[in-house]
């Protein structure tokens, strides 16, 4: 390998030079989200080269990664480690597609596992929208720009061999080396690493649904009463319609009271970019861009900072951004009376998601708030025992639904503050009864099949086991 020019003539050649063999682990990152082309291309090339028995360690498997199901059937892939799995892959896993158990981690737990040497990557494939011949690369420049490349940074540092896959080769040196040449073994140029128009998936606008707006209104009032909405506020929220409504309402309160926040973090949306540009937040700390506005902003604003997944949320480093969070707004598929939250499996036990940064931010933030409708298509949000523990109840402080709020019993001061503010606060049991009074008592049939996945906590402990659905 020439140290001054690492560009390989083809993906096949790049893979060959890594020495990739049967049984090794390859890694991928999902910043192009549903528009990523690299994971499928690399696995197809591995199959052609006759490499088998690979473990795929991906920050997330999206719907576009459905071909992995075929690579599993053919024996190219026999193991999966990820932080999120889209239902189109998840359903197959739940039906027993993979003999080995999937390992689910969180966005902070994944780099932590590399740092503690609990996980190992033989070859990291890093999709970059711009790279130079030495592998200095980023996701902010080029026609396929996707913004932050944060999830791939720990892979670059810890993998034995690193291949940068790009569709834009720039002259040495690129101006911003989010991942730098020290780590990179090979660079390969392909026609397209994906479709950045598909980064934004699902709702990324403030909801117009009256239930979502009511939940967001209660949430904003609860945050206002919590005592945390002060100068220096740090805040994180997701890209869902209700979360965006919360961010918008928080912005209104901050504007009204003249509050200036310190940072907003996480997956960054156009909504947070707006609040930042208005001066309501000093800095954006970004591990992943959720839309075009965020992609543009990270390129143009110095105070919109790109960080690695480790800096974002790893519990194995000396400190990380989540440790500085005041408030995080999160969703839930199910929550139980112990405040355990499930974002991994649906009501029938099928895998349909994963932690992402859920458990990391819930653990780090001073106040972690779950926002969700009390009933979805006849299913009560609150159950006796969640199907899968994704985030342990000890890290969840407050539940907000359209029928009212419930504080974790440990949070007596918060409970007092919310009640004093005139908010409709109940116990979680009362909200449960309310829901079941409307829906009827759901029959529950826990999955009894063999284990198909294990959920590993950010600290590396076993949090829960997901079993096959034999129906």
């Amino acid at each position: 390998m020439k140290r001054d020019n690492k560009v390989m003539p083809s993906l096949a050649e790049a893979i060959r030079q890594t020495g990739l063999r049967d049984g090794m682990t390859v890694s991928f990152h999902h910043h192009l989200r549903d528009g990523d082309a690299v994971l499928n291309l690399v696995l197809a090339e591995c199959e052609k080269l006759g490499v088998r028995d690979l473990t795929v360690n991906a920050s997330a498997l999206m719907a576009c990664h459905h071909p992995i199901v075929d690579f599993i059937r053919k024996g190219t892939v026999t193991g999966i480690e990820c932080n999120y799995m889209h239902p189109v892959v998840g359903h197959e896993i739940s039906k027993g597609l993979l003999a080995r158990e999937v390992i689910f981690r969180s966005h902070g737990g994944r780099p932590a596992a590399l740092e503690r040497k609990e996980a190992h990557i033989d070859v990291a494939f890093i999709a970059a929208s711009t790279s130079d011949r030495a592998g200095n690369c980023n996701g902010r420049d080029g026609r396929t720009a996707f913004g932050s490349i944060g999830y791939a940074m720990p892979d670059a540092e810890h993998a034995d061999n690193v291949v940068v896959v790009t569709d834009h080769l720039a002259p040495y040196p690129v101006s911003v080396a989010s991942i730098d040449e020290r780590y990179v073994d090979a660079v390969v140029v392909i026609d397209s690493i994906g479709d950045p128009d598909k980064i934004m998936s699902g709702t990324t606008r403030v909801t117009r649904d009256p239930i979502g707006l009511l939940i967001a209104d209660y949430t904003a009032r609860a945050l206002s009463a919590s005592g945390l909405l002060e100068d220096g506020l740090s805040f994180q929220t997701g890209a869902g319609g209700t979360s965006l409504a919360v961010a918008s309402f928080i912005g209104e309160i901050m504007r009204g009271r003249g509050i200036r926040g310190s940072f907003a973090s996480g997956g960054i949306t156009g909504m947070l970019v707006d609040l930042f540009q208005e001066g309501l937040f000093e800095t954006l700390i970004d591990v992943q861009c959720f839309d075009r506005d965020a992609v543009r902003s990270i390129r143009d604003n110095e105070k919109h900072r790109e960080i690695s997944a480790s800096t974002y949320a790893s519990p194995a480093v000396k400190s990380s951004v989540v440790d500085h969070l005041d408030i995080v707004i999160l969703g839930a598929t199910e929550i139980d009376s112990q405040f355990n939250v499930n974002v991994h499996t649906d009501s029938n036990g099928f895998i349909m998601g994963g932690s992402g940064g859920h458990s990391d931010t819930a653990a780090g933030a001073k106040l972690s708030v779950i926002v969700a409708p009390l009933i979805r298509a006849r299913l009560p949000l609150i159950v006796d025992r969640v199907g899968t523990i994704s985030t342990p109840g000890k890290d969840v402080d407050l539940l907000v639904t359209q029928y009212g709020l419930a504080c974790n019993p440990e949070k007596t001061e918060l409970d007092y503050r919310l009640r004093s503010a005139g908010l409709p606060v109940f116990t979680i049991e009362e909200l449960h009864e309310r829901a079941v009074g409307i829906t009827g008592v759901p029959g529950r049939h826990p999955s009894q099949g063999r284990p198909v996945a294990r959920v590993v906590s950010r600290d590396g402990d076993l949090l829960d086991i997901i079993r096959a659905v034999n129906r």
Binding site: I438, T439, G440, H445
Partner: protein, 92 residues
């Protein structure tokens, strides 16, 4: 009540149910629902109750449920049955 034609009520929106009823020599109820595991018994009990209220003993009753509450199922089925018992174009 006598079913004289095929009729529908409802939608496939989340939390709604699309009910289709038509005359048949026997009673056939089919249920498709994302919450079948949790609520099949409750849904069928509601359906039988409404059929009884209208003295409907035969017919093909098809429910494409999207997680409708009890009250919704009752309302949609009632409307479908009333439509099916009137000549086409008779409803206003």
């Amino acid at each position: 009540m006598e079913l004289i034609r095929k009729a529908k009520s409802g939608t496939l929106e989340s939390s709604d149910v699309l009910v289709t009823v038509e005359p048949a020599g026997e009673l056939i109820i089919t249920l498709d629902s994302p919450v079948k595991e949790q609520f099949a018994c409750a849904i069928l009990e509601t359906v039988r109750g409404v059929l009884e209220d209208f003295s409907v003993r035969t017919g093909k009753i098809e429910l494409a449920d999207q997680g409708a509450l009890d009250c919704t199922i009752r309302a949609r089925l009632t409307t479908a049955l009333k439509r099916a018992s009137q000549p086409a174009g008779g409803e206003k």
